[in-house]
């Protein structure tokens, strides 16, 4: 389909007066890239954790030993059979990655609230905790692909 274009000054969106004016253009702070991304992953992980974790933990660790379920969804045979389904592999990848990014970010700010406020210490937490989240997610990706694509 042809896409019609018109001169910007003819568009109803055109309004040169809306251009941002920077009084201290030279002293502008550098653009922040990582922080919103980490916060975004934290928020996404919150949704994943809240919606998917309770039922998964219940079925794997509590349903059968407490006699609350007719079968044992966490048993080896049951889970190994379900593991053949790519959707199940994707589910555990998303669950593990989401929970790690959510929980490690939360832990960092609990530690900051507890008094670890110096930039050096916060940088250390960023490296270690984001490292755990990234490596853990890569580990889950490895298991999700293992025996299927690799």
């Amino acid at each position: 389909m042809a896409h019609e274009t018109e001169a910007p000054e003819k568009s109803t969106m055109w309004n040169p007066g809306r251009d941002a004016v920077h009084a201290d253009h030279g002293a502008a702070e550098p653009e922040v890239l990582m922080e919103p991304m980490i916060w975004g992953l934290f928020s996404l992980g919150g949704f994943i954790t809240a919606f998917l974790f309770p039922v998964t933990l219940f079925l794997l660790f509590f349903a059968a030993p407490l006699g609350l379920w007719p079968s044992d969804p966490g048993a080896f045979d049951a889970l190994a059979t379900r593991w053949a389904d790519p959707l199940v592999r994707l589910f555990f990848l998303v669950l593990i990655g989401g929970s790690l990014f959510h929980g490690t970010h939360r832990l960092k700010f609990m530690l900051v609230d507890a008094g670890a406020k110096s930039p050096g210490v916060q940088g250390f937490f960023d490296v270690v905790l984001n490292g755990v989240a990234i490596l853990g997610t890569l580990g889950a990706l490895f298991y999700a692909l293992s025996g299927w694509l690799i």
Binding site: T49, F51, F58, L60, P65, G103, R106, G136, Y143
Partner: protein
Amino acid sequence: MGARLYPWKRPRGWWLRNPRYLGFQLRETGGVVSALYGLILLNMLRQLQVGESAYTAFLDLMRSPPVLFVNLVLFALVIYHAITWFILIGKAQPIRFTAKPIPWKTAFGVNLVLWLGVSGAVVYLIFGGF
């Protein structure tokens, strides 16, 4: 002489002084516990990969009475974290499908219904039903 900054410091044990602060700390702890469970599930996948005896040993440990008890406490924190998350969605970011924002109690109710639906889907699609 320039002005000096005196940043406010939280007194030690601040979160025990008010039930709301305690609730906040419990929900934060629930978030951290979810990361702990993420690592436990990662280990579960590893044992599943190793084979039946390794996986069964892992599952037996997770279901042994002392670990099961600790698990139940941690699970309660995860549930608390989930429910407070559903509550705060409508409060922290009021949803505007209508002229006025939807009341948080309505958003909470919708989230609970969605939660039940998603949980049912997980039972059938991921764990193969009953």
